[in-house]
Symmetry: C2
Subunit: 409 residues, 2 copies
């Protein structure tokens, strides 16, 4: 079945917000054998109706996101109802639940919120447990001779759309699908290795297997390797991937590197502390995004100022004078100091020059030392990442996490 996604919202085209729905929906429906063939993004207004009409003949399943809120630019509900020739009717149950929702949260009732209780006649309401905009499922039948796609109208905010998708959309899709695709998908994530090197190791060998579609996606410090194809071919390909890359693969799920670390540390009943200069809290922040991090991360120290490095981590100020704050010696002392202070099994430390200022001829912007301390040893790596500030921080975090992961496996 052909599936298309229509993201609506002038805020998307104006660049005020990033869409995350494509990625989310694509992954959710893949498990049902469905793939998105095309995504379009258009602004609020009549173009939504025109595009919907155009997509009617191109797809059997259409997801529309956005424009279900209470404000005047939220018109998806109205446009879809008009296009399908359906009247909007006020739904008493929805109206009552909207009023309760606001009361519980101590939010004042504003009359425009009532628009969200309007439902096109015959549409199925998809409850929203995390917001005020319900979703809608409609079966188009304005001209049954031409085509009759399944249309899902979904709210814009991801934290509202995602639970709704799990609870309401997936069950409806299951009832719609007759012949799931016979292809499967395998996915591997690799940290701190370039995509050209990865392709050199596995590319030609995998493409020699008929039916396997191979893709790479590079992000700072991370490459995803993606294979799609029939199961038998994928199993052959997987053998090549495992033989050539082995331990370099940190996951074959969509887990982030920090999730893998929390899982490994938890299983081994080990703990972690972080001492961050140039990453400024990114290590701790990523680790604490993982549920269960509280039993693993004992403490994080963000020590930008040299005084903080001395005060909290006990880094000898002579060491800083002698070698500079960005040096192997200070990275080592920071990691060892953090481990001692937090009484953790492991400690990671970063010190470097994120830029744009602060570089010198000897230590240009991008210079960084990453240290991993544990009972018997402290390892330090020197790296050079001349990048923008946020990319630099991500690259350094990837190196630090990968050093720890290698130690744990």
């Amino acid at each position: 079945m052909r599936v298309v996604l229509l993201n609506t919202g002038t805020e998307l085209l104006a660049g005020d917000v990033h869409d995350t729905h494509l990625a989310f929906i694509a992954r959710e429906i893949f498990a049902l054998g469905l793939r998105i063939e095309e995504r379009r993004t258009v602004g609020d207004g009549a173009v939504i109706g025109e595009t919907l009409r155009e997509l009617f003949s191109r797809a059997e399943i259409i997801f529309v996101t956005g424009g279900l809120g209470p404000t005047s630019d939220d018109i998806t509900r109205d446009v879809a109802a008009e296009l399908l020739g359906l009247n909007l009717e006020e739904n008493d149950e929805l109206l009552a639940s909207l009023k309760t929702r606001l009361k519980v949260r101590g939010i004042r009732w504003v009359p425009s919120i009532a628009r969200q209780a309007q439902v096109p006649a015959g549409a199925q309401v998809l409850p929203n447990e995390n917001g005020s905009a319900s979703g809608l499922y409609l079966k188009a039948n304005i001209n049954s001779k031409v085509s009759s796609p399944h249309i899902f109208l979904l709210p814009g905010p991801p934290r509202e759309l995602q639970p709704m998708f799990h609870q309401s959309v997936i069950p409806i899709l299951r009832s719609i699908i007759k012949e799931p695709l016979s292809v499967e998908r395998r996915f591997y994530k690799i940290a701190v290795m370039g995509e050209s090197i990865i392709e050199e190791k596995v590319g030609q060998k995998i493409l020699a297997i008929p039916g396997v579609e191979l893709g790479y996606c590079a992000r700072p410090g991370e490459v995803d390797l993606r294979m799609i194809g029939p199961r038998a071919a994928l199993e052959q390909a997987e053998k090549i991937v495992r033989a050539e890359l082995g331990d370099v693969i940190f996951t074959d799920t969509d887990a982030a590197l920090e999730e893998v670390l929390v899982t490994l540390l938890t299983a081994q009943k080990q703990t972690l502390a972080t001492a961050e200069s140039c990453t400024g809290g990114l290590l701790a922040n990523r680790i604490t995004n993982v549920p269960g991090a509280s039993s693993v991360l004992l403490a994080g120290y963000v020590c930008y100022a040299n005084e903080a490095k001395a005060d909290v981590l006990g880094v000898d100020s002579k060491l800083i004078e002698q070698h500079g704050a960005v040096s192997e010696e200070v990275a080592r002392a920071m990691a060892e100091g953090a481990r001692r202070r937090a009484k953790s099994t492991y400690a990671l430390a970063t010190t470097g020059i994120a830029g744009p200022g602060g570089g010198s001829e000897q230590k240009p912007v991008g210079t960084v030392y990453v240290a991993l301390a544990y009972e018997t040893e402290t390892k330090v790596r020197k790296l050079f990442f001349p990048s923008d500030r946020e990319t630099f921080k991500q690259l350094v975090a990837q190196v630090a996490f990968e050093m720890l992961r290698r130690k744990l496996i």
Copy 2:
């Protein structure tokens, strides 16, 4: 001039990566009076050519992103050349600079990289200072009677595309544009206030002004208010916005809340420390994403474990026993302890239950205390954000930052 964006990449449709180009390009070209009317996303393969051909008659300017890399799924260059009937030629200068680039970074040469030195005859090369894939500017002329759009082929990674856009694409666009749009754009960002409340304050009054297009975009803890229209109308609308919202607006640029804080603190020669339990480093991480943060953020303490709260921040363990780690008293003691330890002007502290575990009937998941300490006072706010873990962290960070901003203005 009609502008469309075509994002290519099976990894986008497969959900393995999020697109950020739409937002970036939209903002860059708005200053030139250009707006993106439609964005399409398609996979790698023949569909790129089909979609490009379809868009020829719909647009005068076409941006294509992705598919210029060295791996076998990177075919945009080939597809575009074929469609336009242009031969690919090896560019010696490009080849030499690719070899130098890898050598400097100590990366091994892999033969497939040479594909990136192929240039369609007559195309203009757009240099890439942050990666190996050059961009290309082509003027289609396969059938000059029909249409002849300007086509830009740009690399997929944002850190490569963005500097290239500034350096090469913008100057070309300036030479293309004859009649810039007469509309302007104003943009306001507001933290810790819901969009319905904002609309109630300003919506009807602004929509009563002819010609003003009004939009809202809500993210966790933040709403963007966007107005597009002729200058005279926008100036009238701006007066309403300023009168009704005033200090609630934290910026009328695209600055993040943390950028506003770093600017305010720097100008006032004040400093900050953070003591984070439930936000786990997010505050420090966001602050240190801002260039110049090093002169403002003296230290950050991520104190998940109660021992760390006592050890580093000097929080009396009796206080934790008596009131619990998630309490007004502990939030206050954390902020005051961080301020004392770091010798900073201000300190922010967070302690709460991010979930999914750890909640109780008295203190359910989502309960959080945020404290701001300064010389004369310590303020504590109690909030309730029953959300997923990352949204919870963002909402808490917004409240903390907004408390500090209000104090600084």
